[in-house]
């Protein structure tokens, strides 16, 4: 099989949410001696990017996006050990998590998935994340963005605390802060001094791209 055809098949299998087929094709790419990072970008990420478009067009809903990302990750697990050398530094780097006290993470996961399909480098801190971890991780990986989400009003204040902490350390301007979640609004983002509020995952990715290229 030709390389380009294989990439197309991998991309299609991600869109079709066929995790076992993705695994099979990724194994094949290694047998064919194709560079793992090329397969990731032109096959897996390419497919996930199409999924993001389908989601924005409301052809796909959350279940399809999650299942496709499951297939994507199955492929990445196979290819990752074979990546030669470190990835270049040109990626947009994102530290993301659900703030302390909250375990609702579907929205955060969706932003992560769609950020990865836009080729961002994502550092996912998970849910119920101790507030200090956001800044620590951003410093460690030299991130461009800190993304925080929460579904509950009771944990919203944690976002302000992270921003205040950045200010206290005199590093507020090193990062762009993007926030989102059920009770979050543009008004709240303005109040706490976040750089942006995103109403959904697609707009989160769009806003990060805009800010990164501004």
């Amino acid at each position: 099989m030709e390389k380009e055809l294989l990439f197309q098949k991998i991309s299609d299998s991600v869109v079709e949410m066929e995790d076992e087929l993705v695994e099979e094709l990724c194994e094949k790419s290694l047998e064919m001696g194709i560079d793992a990072s090329e397969t990731i970008n032109k096959g897996l990420i390419h497919g996930m990017d199409r999924v993001s478009v389908l989601y924005e067009e409301q052809e796909y809903f959350l279940p399809e996006v999650l299942t496709a990302s499951f297939a994507l990750n199955a492929g990445i697990d196979i290819l990752k050990p074979h990546i030669k050398g470190e990835s270049t530094d040109k990626h947009i780097k994102v530290v993301i998590g659900v703030v302390e006290g909250d375990t609702h993470d579907i929205g955060k996961n969706l932003v992560k998935i769609m950020s990865e399909s836009a080729s961002f480098e994502v550092y996912d801190l998970g849910r119920d994340v101790p507030l200090a971890d956001f800044v620590a991780k951003a410093e460690e990986v030299n991130a461009d963005f800190i993304c925080m989400s929460t579904l509950m009003t009771t944990t919203m204040a944690g976002m302000r605390a992270v921003i205040d902490d950045l200010k206290a350390k005199n590093i507020r301007d090193k990062y762009k802060i993007l926030i989102g979640g059920g009770p979050i609004s543009q008004k709240f983002a303005d109040e706490i001094g976040a750089d942006a509020y995103a109403v959904d995952a697609a707009s989160a990715v769009r806003k990060m791209k805009e800010m990164a290229h501004a």
């Binding site: 949410m17 409301q58 809903f61 959350l62 279940p63 399809e64 999650l66 299942t67 499951f70 006290g101 909250d102 375990t103 609702h104 579907i106 996961n109 509950m152 009003t153 009771t154 944990t155 059920g182 009770p183 609004s185 008004k187």
Partner: protein, 357 residues
């Protein structure tokens, strides 16, 4: 001066003339009442009103009753009742829930994975999870307040329960990868719900459903029709077969499934503030009472009493003439630490703008 500006500044708010139970009985028959019905969407988030930590409230029938008594005495809300909460049935089925003093409970560990979901169990209403505590609380509310205010129990839609039994992401992936397993789980949940619902019917308590995971913010209308609606209808049919009715609330977007909801047999629908009351009146108003939809966070939690009045007036203007009736309420449960003044303002909005309609 405008009445909104005069509020808390000299405006006399008309007193209620009817008890909630009298008002709702007349209103449901289409007869004239003293004011527009208005319900405060309360529950565990407002346990601070009776100086009780939220985790204590969750485990005390007495506290649950006390909060309803407080709300009746202080606000005159047109409904009293207790919810199983979104996690109550799933906890009874084995999910691990974490409780907090100042925050609502959260799912910590789902009862099942897609691998072992066939082991999902039928519950014992009198033993499992917090169900017996909630039922005892409802019994107390009904006994002490039942002659003054309609009492209802909120249960959870089968699809949302499935999310709490499996974890939402596993449920959503399972619909695509293991649809038959998900359907088998939903059948068990329907039976569990019916067992609980039977107790409510036996106590003469009204029934409402909360089903946020069925929102089109999460699943497609086709998925709703395949995995949520058929099982929800089994619960609704069970209720209707005994001569009772029930309401439904879905958080988030729901417009694309309103036609399905219209035909599902529910007698009342509460919409989230992201949806339009005017549109709900047109699509659903001929078939059922509609409820809504003052924004719970922006207005009820973070706004001023005057913001509440403005928002509530807009709701009343839009929906007061809905053919099968309208109940003023918030678009979802009010958040922790919602100011008392704002709850009062919501009730007063019905007293000020909900007369002579």
């Amino acid at each position: 001066m405008h009445r909104i500006e005069q509020y808390l500044n000299g405006l006399v708010v008309p007193k209620d003339e009817l008890l909630p139970i009298e008002r709702m009985a007349l209103y449901s028959k289409g007869e004239k009442v003293d004011r527009m019905p208005c319900c405060l969407d309360t529950g565990e988030t407002l346990s601070y009103l009776i100086n009780t930590p939220i985790d204590v409230y969750y485990h005390s029938a007495e506290k649950m009753y006390m909060l309803e008594q407080y709300i009746f005495d202080n606000f005159g809300s047109d409904g009293a009742g207790l919810s199983t909460t979104l996690r109550g049935m799933a906890e009874a089925m084995g999910s691990e829930i974490r409780y907090h003093a100042n925050n609502i409970a959260q799912l910590y560990k789902p009862a099942h994975t897609l691998r072992d979901v066939e082991n999902a169990r039928l519950v014992d209403i009198d033993k499992d999870g917090r169900l017996p505590i909630i039922l005892e609380g409802l019994r107390m509310v009904k006994e002490k307040l039942g002659d003054k205010v309609p009492v209802s129990g909120t249960v959870t839609g089968p699809f949302t329960i499935a999310a709490m039994v499996l974890g939402t992401e596993n449920l959503l992936i399972g619909m695509i990868k293991k649809p038959e397993k998900i359907k088998a789980l939903l059948e068990i949940i329907v039976e569990n719900n019916n067992r609980y619902i039977q107790r409510l019917i036996d106590m003469g308590i009204g029934i409402g459903f909360a089903d946020p995971v069925s929102s089109t913010s999460l699943i497609s209308p086709e998925q709703y029709r395949k995995f949520s609606l058929p099982y929800f209808k089994k619960n609704v049919d069970f209720i209707k077969s005994q001569g009772s009715g029930c309401g439904l609330h879905i958080c988030g977007t729901s417009r694309k499934i309103w036609e399905d909801i219209r035909d599902s047999g529910v007698t009342c629908f509460g919409l989230d503030n992201v949806e339009s009351l005017t549109e709900a009146k047109e699509v659903l108003g001929g078939a059922m009472c509609i409820q809504g939809n003052v924004p719970p966070v922006e207005v009820m939690r973070l706004g001023t009493p005057h913001d509440v009045l403005r928002s509530a007036k807009k709701c009343i203007d839009e929906a007061h003439d809905s053919p099968k009736g309208f109940v003023l309420t918030s678009g979802c449960q009010m958040p922790v630490n919602t100011p008392v003044e704002n709850m009062q303002a919501l009730m007063d909005a019905a007293r000020i703008f909900g007369r002579d309609l």
